[in-house]
Each structure stands twice: as C-alpha cells, then as structure tokens.
Subunit: 352 residues, 2 copies
DNA sequence: CTGAAAGCGCTAACAG
DNA sequence: CTGTTAGCGCTTTCAG
C-alpha cells in the first residue's frame, strides 16, 4: 500500500490532522499523552510527510538549487559536496543545476525552479546574467553568489566573497621568496574575466618585489587542464629562461606541469609551478602541486547559512507585507584568508 | 509582485483555470482563438507553473534522485553530469544525494524524498540496502540500479548493466599481449566486493594465456588513489620483478602510478599500469593512463530512459488499479561492451 | 470546445 | 490542549 497520509495517521490515533501536524512540527502545544499516541501511529503506519504538499501549503520548497558552470571542472563537485554537507540533516535538499557554461540553460533553470521547486538559489560562478538573478530574487527566491572574487567590490547581490587577490599575491610571493625572478603567468580567463583579481595579486607581489609584473610573460587561456597545457607550451617555447609559472587556478597549473613534463623540464628542479584553490587533485598528482588553498568548506557553509537567513527573512517580509526595500544593501560575507600550501611543484630558483 | 497563479492568468484571458491548464499541457482540445489568448496572457504576466502544486495534483514530482556513494570520487560527478544531460529539456530535475558511503544517510534520503520530492531513484553503487530499495519501490518510487557489474547475474531490481568482467579481461589481455607475464593485481574492493567481476575477468584472461592467475600477487584495497598507492607500494616491495600492474579502477591505477614514480620506477618503461573506466582524469595525467573505457554516457542514458518508463508505468498501474505484480521480472538493460583505450602507461614488457 | 467542482496532502489561524 | 475551517496552485473528471 502506498504511503499513508496525515489524515490516516490522525484517524489511527483518534485525533485530527491538525494535531498530527502539530506534533510533527512541535507547534501549538499538544498533551503528552496524545503526542505519544500520535507518534505511535506514525511509526506504526510508516508515515512520511508528502513534501510537495507541505511545500504548497507553506509556500516554499525544502530545497536549494546550486547552479554550477561545469560539473566537469573538479572544483564544482567538491564545492557541491561541501554544500551538501552543510545542508545535511537540515531537512533541505540540494538540486544541482549544471549550466554547462551556457547562460541560456542557466536562465531556463532559474525560470523553472526558482521560487517553486527550490526555495533559494546558490550560484557558483555559473555564467548567469545578473539581471536574470535579480528577476529571480524579485520573484521571491533569494539568491546567493558563492565564490565572489573581490571582497572589496561586492556585486549588487548577497554573496560570500573570498579574497582571491590575496590568493594571487600569496602564490606569487611564494615564488619570489624562492628566489624566482623570471616567472611567467597563466591566467585562466580573459584579462577582465573572473581571474582578474588573482592576476592583480600577482602583479602586486611583483611590484612589491621591485619587479615589473606587467613585463612578465602572460597568457590568458581557458580555465582547464588543456588551457594550462597549451599556455605553458607557448610560454616555455617563447621564454625558455623562465624558472617559474604562476597560475590562477589548479587545473591550468596541472596542465602546465604536464606540458613541462612533455617538454622535458624537470619540475620543480628546473621549473616551479604554483596554482590556486587546492582542489583534491592538487595533492594527488606527482609532483604534488604547491598551491594557495581557498576555504571552500567555509565558503559553502557561509553561503548556505546566508541563503537560509534570506529565505527565512523573505518569509517574514512577505507576511508583514512590509516592503522592506531589499533590507538595505545586499549582505556580503567574507571568508577567512586563503593560505599557502607549499608542496612538491615549487623549489628554489636554479642558480645560474 | 510575486509569480502570478494559473487563476490570474485565466482571469486575464477571460477563461477558467481549467482551460489554461489544458492549453498548458495540450490536453482536452482548446479552440485556436482562446489558446492564443491564453498564451498571450501567460507571456504578459510572466506566468510559471508552481511545480509543487502540480506535483501534488499529479501525485508525482518532476524530479529524479541520484544516489551516489561519494561525490569525491571523480567518476560520480562524471556520471551525474551524464544523467543531467540525459534529463536536460525533459522537464525533469535532478536531486543529487551523496550518501558518503553510509547506508544510514542513504536510507534517510530514501525515506524523505522517494515518492514525494522525487518521482524515481537512480542508484549508482550507493551502498544501499537492497531491502530499503525494495521498500522504496513498494511505496511507488521506481528504482533503477545504474552500474550493475554483472549482466548475467541481475539483482532483483531494474538495472542497467555493464560487462565489467569483460572490462577486466580486456585490461588483462592488453598486458598479456604486450608480453607481460609477471603482473600484479590491485582490486579496489573486498574480494567479494563490487570489483569482483573485474578481477574474474583478469583471472580468466590469465588462465586463457596459460598462466595461473590465482598465483598473481594481488591486493585488495579501498577504491581510491591512496588505496592504489599503498597497494602498489606493497606489491612492488614484495615483488620487485613485476612488470605490470592490473587495476580494477582508474583511481587506484593513478595511485599506483604515483607510487611507481615515488619508488623510482619508470612507467611504462619498467612498469606498465592499466585501469578500468576511463574517467576524465585518466587522459589528464602523465603518462596518460591506458584503461578500458566503460560506456558511461550510454549507461546514464539507458538508466534515465528505464526509470522514465517505470515511472510512467507506475502511474498507469496505479490508475488501472491492476496490481500488475511487478510487471514480471525486473528489466535489465545491458550497455554496449567496454573497449580498450591504450595510452602511455603501458608498453611492451622489458626483455629481462 | 469550455466551465464548474472536487480534490491532491498539508498548514495555519481561530475557536472552543 | 485540540478540533474546525480554509485554503496553497494545479489537475481532472464531468457537465453543459
């Protein structure tokens, strides 16, 4: 027999549906005796609440959507995992929406589920139009941007920010501290793209070290292993005297290491390579990748927390019918700072 | 203003909700004129259906759940992506449930969403109790096992099967064809565990080659890079004369390559390593991993198709009130055969 | 071809 | 403390 309904449980326990609902959610006081009776009935019948019905009645679904640009980039599954962990046992479920880097499918997802199937939306760098997101918000589904790269330059939306400029600076400084002077840069986005802040950090570090960062050989490339591979080949071919490669992300860094291997460079003896993020893969390749770890778990936790608050608040606002005018500026949380994780892909600059 | 409801659209178009519903789903014929009027109203108001309400009315949510044992194992995100692709534009959404290898959280997920929030469940090796799954089914949420390892030995549940014994055989044969005779085996599960079929394939190939497979040094280890790493160290320490390592999965194979590197073995010159599955990573490490590719996309596609059929059928059955007795035996789809993908981690056996 | 009406399973006031 | 009463937004017979 299919799942029993609340009403059947009620009948079984000799009470009304309202009472069952009350014990289920600990609202409206219920006598100890009846409570027990109800609980027994629930157990006996194997009752489980029908989530869509509840969502309809409450006007809000117990799910969050996570928009990611590519589930093929290992960072996103890791992030998704972190979000899932943050959600676990909260009664919320995660709907993963892979936009495949396409704003169009991203919009389609938002249109369909935001505010209906999912009570809120977490956005992890999915290539979404900021206007689409605003529209989503105005429809009652709060939006949180998950990995904003510039704490000092917040978007108009609630977000959790990571100081990626600092990450870039730390990575570059690591190279500089090891005595490297001729370092090439591989940027995993367009010059004005998502990795710009990281590159600025690099430039800052160079400048501080008295070098002309802008003169450092730089290539802008897709944020993939292949991108890093191609970029490194290009860089190394044109500037065989480079002793280190700064990379704005781990994936291209890994690609760069492969290119170095294919070209016969000994990493880290002849060439140091450093990445940013510290994805799991970074510690699983040989040589293990030196990188700047970014607080992924923390970011996910904060994002979930923020979104929860916004959802709760949206509920209240709706009730008060007070048009609380966007509750002031969109909140931005900043995670703790990224930190250097030196491993085996970096070493002192060769003295020669 | 929040999302308009069907009723408002109806009012706006001067018809009743029923009519709007009809045009929305192409049922019950509607006059061309009214249809246009309704469509216009929908567009004008920016109407979007409220999915939970629809789910409640229809008795079935437009989502499937995908249970995976670990989102940290890169195979699963890849598989999830394939499922997502198969679902795209079908109006179905994917809820990813990461059981973290824990049957308990797996059960919790099933309890909560199967049959309510999700209309069906895809299970990818999540460590789930078969009884829990049966119970889920009996509650009206069809279940499909996604990567069954033994086509000839189906479980009691609908599934899509991949001939992993054959995969093991192909991998082993590849090594044998290259002249290897002293090959060690790394199995990413308990002896009777999930990778047993792959190991059998290995043994079959050895036997066919006139070797005593059972005599091959073998270690059973967790299905992770680390597991493979440790296993390879152990194998290589105890049997320095091995010229090849057979591995039941890519992740341990990658770990084995790292161990080889750390131990100073030149892969593939001195030691060949072969894996199974062909995850993305396999082509992104150096040397690139020779492996036996398994039709992941195809499996995902079949699984989704099967689950869709079962969901549709469950709907019909419920209506006919005909207790169609599990519709005979649980259906099992078999994917096309795995195939060898030789890359750079295998080479001719060194001639002593 | 279109409208009226009865729920789907649950929640949330408000009464008693 | 518990029961009554309305819906939430949509689908779906069944009439007209």
């Amino acid at each position: 027999m299919p799942t029993p309904t609340l009403a059947e449980v009620a009948r079984h326990a000799g009470v009304t549906p309202a009472t069952v609902s009350n014990v289920l959610r600990g609202r409206g006081r219920v006598g100890e005796a009846t409570r027990e009776r109800v609980l027994a009935a629930i157990a006996a019948l194997g009752y489980r609440p029908h989530l869509p019905a509840r969502a309809l009645a409450e006007g809000r679904a117990p799910t969050m959507a996570l928009m990611v640009p590519s589930i093929a980039n290992p960072f996103y599954p890791e992030f998704a995992l972190a979000v899932e962990n943050a959600l676990r046992n909260s009664g919320q479920f995660l709907i993963i929406c892979n936009t495949d880097g396409d704003p169009h499918t991203g919009r389609a997802y938002l249109e369909q589920i935001a505010g209906t199937l999912s009570g809120g939306v977490l956005v992890a760098n999915a290539n979404l139009d900021i206007d689409d997101l605003r529209r989503t918000e105005s429809r009652g589904a709060p939006v949180v941007l998950c990995m904003w790269e510039r704490p000092l330059d917040p978007p108009g939306l609630p977000c959790v920010a990571v100081d990626f400029r600092l990450a870039g600076e730390l990575a570059a400084r690591h190279l500089l501290d090891l005595g490297h002077r001729r370092v090439g840069a591989i940027v995993g986005s367009k010059a004005t793209g998502i990795h710009a802040a990281r590159y600025e950090g690099f430039l800052d570090a160079m400048r501080t070290a008295g070098l002309d960062g802008a003169a450092a050989p730089t290539v802008f490339t897709p944020d993939t292993t292949q991108g890093g591979y191609a970029a490194a080949r290009e860089l190394l071919a044109r500037h065989p005297d480079l002793t280190a490669l700064f990379t704005t992300n781990d994936l291209p860094a890994l690609g760069a290491m492969q290119a170095a291997a294919d070209l016969g460079f000994d990493v880290p003896r002849q060439l140091s390579v450093v990445g940013i993020t510290d994805i799991q893969l970074a510690r699983e390749t040989r040589p293990a990748l030196s990188t700047v770890a970014v607080p992924t778990e923390e970011a996910a936790g904060l994002a979930v927390k923020l979104l929860r608050e916004l959802i709760a608040q949206a509920g209240r606002v709706a009730k008060d019918a007070k048009d609380t005018k966007a509750a002031g500026a969109a909140k931005v949380c900043v995670t703790s700072a990224p930190r250097l994780v030196p491993r085996a892909s970096t070493a002192r600059a060769p003295t020669a």
